[in-house]
């Protein structure tokens, strides 16, 4: 299986072509800028934040936006802007590993289900359907009740509940492809199963899944925020957009800026990743890549 996964890495030039294609589309460019700034601010969070996001300063509590505190402060006097930036870091720390893990596992299982024997397909589909039959939040509640709230728990819950989505898409694509003439041609030319799956089917499936993943990231970010809002996600004092919203919700009469600070990035991230995902969908399909 390792050689199959190794093949997912696109060469630099291909990546450059894709990025250039996305940037040419106005919505794609907006998405790219938003996503780029979120990623940038998350990576360099410790240099960007003006204050320590968990340092309390009770005398300056619940202030509005000002030159010293760009987005004001919360009930404990912590700088909201610093907490928003660090919250982005937490959001990506959950979303990226969870999505990557779910995509890799879902892709592998889905391709096996689609290409392998019928009984294995049935078994995997049963497994996927079983997982999908749990409502995500209920499943999260159960897991948190068992192992306690933490970042890892959120990642695990998101990953486990997303695998069936990727698995099903990968399976459907594999099923469509396995009877296509070029796969038959490959078989007639003596390609092994690993070669057919890894070299020939994977590039046909990965684009669809990458688009799905890009569109899925905001859902995961919202889920993390939701779980944190319910107190099931990251533990305080770690800043998360969900925690920010939760505090802001309680204090909305005293200071509305916490809700803005927690809500706006979620909205921006959702828009950004969705624009990027849609634009990516148009670009990664070489059949649509006519005019270049």
């Amino acid at each position: 299986m390792t050689d199959i996964i190794a093949d997912t890495s696109k060469s630099r030039s291909e990546l450059a072509i894709i990025i250039a294609g996305v940037a040419r589309d106005p919505l794609g460019l907006i998405g790219l800028i938003i996503v780029g700034s979120i990623v940038f601010s998350a990576v360099f969070a410790s240099w960007i934040v003006p204050y320590d996001p968990i340092a309390m300063n009770i005398p300056d509590r619940m202030q509005g936006p000002s030159g010293t505190h760009l987005l004001g402060t919360d009930q404990l006097g912590r700088d909201t802007f610093s907490r928003v930036i660090s919250g982005g870091q937490v959001a990506l720390k959950v979303a990226l590993p969870a999505i990557f893990g779910a995509m890799t596992i879902g892709l592998t299982l889905g391709m096996i289900a689609g290409y392998g024997p019928k009984w294995l397909d049935n078994f995997l589909m049963l497994l996927f359907d079983t997982i999908r039959s749990f409502p995500t939040v209920m499943f999260a509640l159960a897991v948190v009740a068992l192992v306690g709230p933490s970042l890892q728990t959120v990642v695990f819950v998101v990953m486990a509940t997303s695998i069936p989505t990727y698995g099903r898409v990968a399976r459907t694509q594999t099923l469509t492809l396995r009877n296509s003439e070029f796969i038959l041609a490959e078989r007639a030319m003596g390609a092994s199963m690993a070669r057919i799956l890894g070299v020939h089917m994977l590039p046909n499936i990965i684009g669809v899944l990458a688009v799905l993943a890009a569109m899925d990231i905001p859902t995961v970010i919202a889920l993390e925020a939701g779980l944190s809002f319910l107190g099931l996600g990251v533990k305080p004092p770690t800043p998360s957009w969900g925690v920010l919203l939760k505090d802001g919700y309680a204090l909305i009469r005293q200071t509305p800026w916490l809700v803005v600070g927690g809500g706006l990035p979620i909205i921006l991230a959702t828009l950004g990743f969705t624009f990027l995902g849609e634009s990516l969908r148009d670009v990664v399909d070489p059949k649509l890549r006519k005019n270049r």
Partner: protein, 325 residues
């Protein structure tokens, strides 16, 4: 002396269906010699495709080999394991499929596909790319180095089919199976592909098993012809014998029905009346009897494929004067 490369010996293949066994191939026998081009002709559903999938053993799960043998270079392919078969496919036996628009992976560049198909060769990627470019040049694709970087949709249908031929010949096979390679192309391209195949066959010296329902193409390209009808060989012989001296009523009617053969402008194009018999429920006697205008009493018996002259066989009682009389 010519050496037999592929020998199909009394091959019978059934498809197990809910309606009972579909007798897709019945007692098929013919040879392909080294460096020879053999055409297989017959209407749709006569078992041409089943024959190819049987040779390569890329069969549907409900396929059953009833009896007979497929001997390639003397050893029976039906006794080979799946791994041994896989080594043969794209090695000693290659294939070109019917529809060039579907035969390449749409999301991988032609160069990458042509490098990938050389997975058995123990050469560097650079050498494989050079081989790929050389092969593209050999099938007449201009500027091959640059075109290796392009995707299949950037080529025309005729070019794609030539690329498919290049890929099939890359392993320098002993036998190239061409499954109606020109059916999906227009007439001018058809000629182009045929000429190309002829040239390549001369250069590479491989035998070609050419499947088509187009008699003109067969006459142009092949050395020998096997005429199939409803899963059986009705006549086989040299191109000259088959086209000038057909000995089976089906072959005769098939030639009459070829639009290229009709001289005068006709109001109604000739056809063969009737339908191909139901293969799951075969009638007794000669399978062509119901559609044959020369059927006689003894056609109630299955006629054997009989040798009429050197390299010319037909399965019809009319060639057995004493029994018809």
């Amino acid at each position: 002396m010519t050496e037999t490369l592929l020998e199909i010996d009394n091959l019978s293949v059934d498809y197990e269906t809910a309606r009972g066994d579909l007798k897709a191939l019945r007692d098929i026998s013919f040879d392909v010699n080294r460096g020879e081009i053999v055409g297989i002709v017959g209407e749709s559903g006569c078992g041409k495709s089943t024959l190819i999938s049987a040779i390569l053993r890329l069969i549907a799960p409900n396929t059953r080999f009833r009896n007979g043998a497929i001997r390639f270079k003397g050893d029976d392919l039906l006794t080979r394991t799946e791994d041994q078969m896989r080594a043969l496919r794209g090695g000693d036996i290659s294939i070109v499929f019917q529809d060039p628009m579907q035969t390449h992976n749409p999301v991988i560049t032609i160069g990458k596909q042509m490098v990938d198909i050389q997975h058995r060769a123990m050469t560097s990627k650079k050498e494989k790319l050079a081989t790929a470019a050389k092969m593209l040049g050999a099938v007449g694709i201009p500027d091959p180095e640059a075109r290796l970087k392009q995707y299949p949709h950037e080529f025309s249908g005729g070019m794609r089919q030539r690329i498919a031929i290049a890929m099939a010949l890359m392993s320098e096979p002993d036998l190239l199976i061409a499954d109606e390679p020109t059916t999906a192309l227009d007439a001018t391209l058809e000629v182009q592909i045929i000429e190309r195949l002829k040239d390549l066959q001369r250069d590479f010296g491989c035998a070609i098993l050419f499947i088509s329902h187009h008699l003109g193409v067969i006459a142009e390209l092949c050395d020998r012809v096997v005429v199939m009808y409803a899963g059986a060989v009705v006549e086989s012989g040299t191109v000259r014998e088959i086209f000038h001296n057909p000995k089976h009523p089906y072959t005769r009617r098939l030639i009459e029905c070829d639009p290229g053969h009709i001289k005068a402008r006709a109001r109604i194009l000739p056809t063969i009346p009737g339908e191909v018999p139901d293969l799951a429920n075969l009638p007794d006697g000669c399978i062509f009897r119901d559609r044959c205008d020369q059927a006689v009493a003894c056609c109630a018996q299955v006629p054997p494929l009989t040798r009429l002259s050197e390299g010319h066989n037909a399965a019809c009682w009319l060639n057995h004067a004493e029994e018809v009389a």
